[in-house]
Symmetry: C2
Subunit: 493 residues, 2 copies
C-alpha cells in the first residue's frame, strides 16, 4: 500500500507526469491554493538552502555584497525603459488598494474604494528599475564605482501555464545588479557571473551546461547582450538555467544615473544584472532522477547518507543503534551529513523505497549478522548497486564514494548530452531530428526572420550561440545565407 503510493509514472510513459509525481511524492513541493504559486516543502527547501549557501559564498568570493530593495515598483518606473516595459507589463501583479473593509451588503470583505493608491504598485518581476532609481543617489563619481550588489528575493510574473519549479507565478531567486565606470568592466562582469553559474551547475549540481549568448530576439528585456547557461534534460528538451545580462547604459539613461569619470567628464553608468532561480531545482531533478525517484548530487543532498537498521526485536535494535551511532560519529567527523532512521513504525523495505525516492546518495543497512561480521551493506543511489563491506575504514570509503557519485552522475549527464547533440545541415533533416529532441547544432543566417520561421514551424528556439564553440563558418540551413558559426537549437522548457 505505502509502496504503491510512492510509485511514479515511468518516464517512458509520460515524462511530464513523471516529473510532477516526483516533485510531489519526494516531498519537494506542491501547488498552493493561489493560482500558479507553489509551496516549497521542507525537503525541497533544504536543497534550495544548500544551493543558496554555495552560490552566496561564490558571489562573496567574487567581491559581491548582499542588499535588499523593495518588493514594490511604482508603475511609472516600469515605463522608463522601453523594452523592459514590453517584457514585463503584460504579466504582472498590480497592487491598486491598501485596505479591505466589510461588505456592507454581505458578510465578506471587499476592497475599500477609499483606499485606492494614487499610483499603482507592481510586485517586482525583476528589480532593475527600482534598483537603478536607488543607484542614482549612490553614484556621483568614479570613486563610487563599481557597485556589486546582489539580493535574494521573491519575484512575481503572471505566467499563464505554470509547472512546479520550472515556471511559477511567484518564484525565489537571486538577482545581481552591478554598476560600472566602463563598458569593458561591465561586459567582463557579466561574463564572470556566467562562469560562476556554469561552475556552480557543473561542480555542485553535476549538470553540464553550454555557455552561450542569446540571439537578440531571446535577450532579456532591456539588455544589449544576454549570456546564458543551457542544460539538456532527459526528455531531450533544453532548460535555460541561468542568465547574465550586459545592460549597457540603458537603465542608467532611463533613470538618469551619471558619474564624473577620472578625467572629470560626465558619462552614464554601465550595468549588468544576473540571476538564477528555484528553476535550478527543476534542472537538478530532471537531469539525474530516474523511475525510482530523485537522484541527488552528494554536494547538494540534505543528507548524504542514511542508515537503516534491520532487526527483529528490541535487543537487536539496541545493539545496532550503538553501531550506527559510532558510524555516524565517524562520518560526521569527515563532514558527511547523515541521518539514522530507526523509527519503529516503518519496515526496512518501506524505508529503502522512501530514501531511494528522496535521492539520498548512499544508504547503509545494518543487520544482526553485520554486527557479528563487522560489516555493513552499502547501496549507491545513482547505480542502484549494493555491496557488503567491512566496517574497518568504511568512513573514508564512503567519503570517496560520495565524490565518485558526484563525478559519476556528472559524467552520465555529460555523456547523455554528447549523445544527444547532433550537427544538422538541412532544414528537412532538422524537422525530422527536432522530433527526437536534443541539442541540434545548426548554421543560421543571423536574422530574426529565420529564427521566427524555425520557431513557428517547429516550436524550437535558438538556445544560444555557444561561446568558445566550433567557429567554422557555413550556410544557414534554412536560407542558405552565410553563417559564422553553428548555434544550438532545441525545444525548451
Amino acid at each position: 500500500m505505502a509502496k504503491e503510493l510512492k510509485e511514479l509514472t515511468p518516464r517512458s510513459v509520460d515524462y511530464s507526469q513523471w516529473y510532477q509525481d516526483l516533485v510531489i511524492k519526494a516531498d519537494l513541493a506542491e501547488m498552493s491554493a493561489v493560482r500558479g504559486c507553489m509551496v516549497i516543502k521542507p525537503y525541497g527547501y533544504a536543497i534550495w538552502e544548500k544551493i543558496q549557501r554555495e552560490l552566496d559564498d561564490m558571489f562573496k568570493a567574487t567581491g559581491h555584497v548582499n542588499a535588499y530593495f523593495p518588493l514594490f515598483i511604482p508603475k511609472s518606473f516600469l515605463s522608463r525603459e522601453a523594452e523592459h516595459v514590453e517584457g514585463f507589463a503584460k504579466e504582472c501583479a498590480v497592487v491598486t488598494h491598501h485596505r479591505l473593509k466589510k461588505d456592507p451588503n454581505g458578510t465578506g470583505l471587499i476592497v475599500d474604494p477609499d483606499a485606492k493608491l494614487e499610483e499603482e504598485l507592481i510586485v517586482r518581476p525583476t528589480s532593475e528599475t527600482i534598483i537603478w532609481n536607488t543607484y542614482k543617489n549612490w553614484i556621483h563619481s568614479y570613486r563610487d564605482l563599481p557597485i556589486l550588489c546582489n539580493q535574494w528575493a521573491n519575484v512575481v510574473r503572471w505566467e499563464m501555464r505554470t509547472r512546479m519549479f520550472l515556471r511559477t507565478t511567484e518564484f525565489l531567486w537571486q538577482e545581481g545588479h552591478t554598476a560600472h565606470a566602463t563598458k569593458d568592466e561591465a561586459e567582463i562582469e557579466a561574463k564572470k557571473m556566467l562562469e560562476v553559474y556554469a561552475s556552480f551547475a557543473e561542480n555542485f549540481m553535476a549538470v553540464p551546461v553550454v555557455r552561450g549568448v542569446k540571439t537578440p530576439t531571446e535577450r532579456f528585456a532591456g539588455a544589449l547582450d544576454t549570456y546564458t547557461i543551457e542544460a539538456l534534460m532527459q526528455d531531450g528538451k533544453a532548460l535555460q538555467s541561468g542568465t547574465a545580462h550586459f545592460l549597457g547604459q540603458n537603465f542608467a539613461k532611463a533613470f538618469d544615473v551619471t558619474f564624473i569619470d577620472k578625467d572629470n567628464k560626465t558619462d552614464y553608468v554601465w550595468a549588468t544584472s544576473w540571476g538564477v532561480s528555484t528553476r535550478l531545482m527543476g534542472a537538478l531533478i530532471m537531469t539525474h532522477s530516474d523511475d525510482n525517484g530523485l537522484v541527488l548530487p552528494p554536494k547538494l543532498a540534505p543528507y548524504q547518507v542514511v542508515i537503516v537498521p534491520i532487526y527483529k526485536n528490541d535487543d537487536q535494535l539496541h545493539a545496532i543503534d550503538e553501531k550506527a551511532n559510532q558510524l555516524m560519529d565517524g562520518l560526521k567527523k569527515l563532514g558527511i551529513s547523515v541521518k539514522y532512521d530507526n523509527s519503529d513504525n516503518k519496515k526496512p523495505g518501506w524505508k529503502f523505497a522512501e530514501y531511494e525516492l528522496k535521492g539520498v546518495p548512499v544508504r547503509l543497512a545494518i543487520g544482526s549478522r553485520d554486527l557479528e561480521s563487522n560489516t555493513v551493506e552499502v547501496a549507491r543511489r545513482d547505480t542502484l548497486t549494493k555491496e557488503t563491506l567491512s566496517c574497518d575504514g568504511i568512513e573514508d570509503y564512503i567519503k570517496q564514494l560520495l565524490d565518485d557519485i558526484q563525478a559519476n552522475i556528472y559524467k552520465k549527464a555529460l555523456d547523455f548530452r554528447q549523445a544527444n547533440t547532433r550537427e544538422v545541415n538541412s532544414y528537412d533533416e532538422f524537422k525530422v531530428e527536432i522530433e527526437k529532441g536534443g541539442f541540434l547544432m545548426c548554421h543560421w543566417d543571423g536574422t530574426a526572420e529565420t529564427e521566427e520561421k524555425i520557431k513557428n514551424e517547429t516550436k524550437a528556439t535558438i538556445r544560444c550561440i555557444p561561446l568558445n564553440g566550433d567557429m567554422t563558418p557555413g550556410k544557414c540551413m534554412v536560407t542558405g545565407k552565410p553563417s559564422t558559426q553553428r548555434v544550438i537549437i532545441a525545444r525548451a522548457y
Copy 2:
C-alpha cells in the same frame, strides 16, 4: 567637510533625528521611492545576515525546518478567523489585476480592466491563513505531528507612520508555524521559542529583555496567548522585539484541520506561530549606539576589527602593509573577521571617524613608530578608550577583548534598564514618572477598561505581564482593585 557630513544630531537634542541620521550615515538603510518601504544597504544587510544565520542555527537546533509558502493570500482566507481579519484587513496591499496595458489616451501605462482577478489577493501581512490551509493536506493522524516549519520571508503591512527598521510597510522576518497534537505541547513550543528569542537577544545582540505575556488587548490577532520579549531603549521607550503566539485551535478550526489521535478520536490541531523581524535592527542600533555612531556587539559585527595604517609615504605604507597582513592572518586564524583599510584617498582621521560611525568593535592603528617598537594602538569602540600594546600575543588579547566588549555592552544596557525600571504605586505618581521614560512596574486590576484608560491618558501601554517576575499581589494603581502581580507599563515604539 567629510567629517561634518558624518556628524549626527546628538541624542540629547533630538533622539528620533539621531536615530534617523545614524541609520542613514552609517549606511544601514534609506527610504525608497516606494512609500514606507526601505532599501537595506549592504552594511545593514550584512548585520541582518548575521542575525539570520545565528537564529536559523538556533531554530534548527530546536528541531525546526525551513519551508516556503506563497506571498499572496486569497482575500477569502483572511476572513476565516474573525480576530485575525480585524487585525490585518485594514492595512494590507491588495492585488486586483494581473496586467498593465498602454494608455490608449496617453503615453503611460494603465491597469488593464480585462485583467481583473476573480478574487483579490492580499500580499501576506503574516502567513497563518495560507499555511493552515496547506497544513490541512499534510495532517491526518497524530503520526503527522508535530510540524515544525519556519520561513524567512518578506511581509507587508500598510502602516501609516513608518520609521526605518522599526516600522516599515514591507519588512523582512521569519515566521515559525507549528502544529501539535496537544495543547500542552503547543504551549511548551511557544514558550520554548520565546526563550530562543530571549537568549539570542541577550547573548548575540547584547540586548537585555524582559520575558512576558501580553494582555488580551495586546495579543496577536487570533492568538490565545502572546509571549513577548521587551527591551528598553536609551530614550526610555520600550521596543517589542519578538513574539511567540499560542494560537490554540483557532486556525485549525478556521481551516478545518483535524487529526486522528492515538485513541482514534478526531480533534482539531493545536498551533503556535512566532516571529522576529528587521525590527531587531532597530533594537540593536538604539540599545548600544552613541553620538559618535553605531556600537555593534562583536558577535554580530560584519567585521570585528579594522586596521588603519598611518603613514607619510609609500615606503612606510609597504612596511605597514606587511605587518598588517601578518596581524590579519593571526586574527583570522582565531576566527576573528578583520578589514584592512589601506585605501589611499582617505586620511586616517577620516577613517577613524568612519569606523567609529559604523560601530566596528576594535580599531587597530599602525604607524611607523609602531613598526620600530613592535606595537599597535588598540581602540575600543564601546568605551572609546585607546592603549598602545606590544604585538606579541596581540591576537589572543583581541579575542579576549571582543568577548569583553560583548559582555560590557550587555552589562551597560542591563544597568541602564535596571536604573530605569521603577515601582510605581499610585496613578498620580505614574503620570509624573511616565514622562521620564523607563519600565514602570505597576499593579493593574486586569481589566481592559483600566488598560485603555492608562493608554488614552498617558500614551503608555502594558508591555507585558512578566514571567517569573515578582509575584507579590497588590492593588491596582488606578482603581484600587486587587492585582496578582506587577506589570510593566511604558511608552513604546
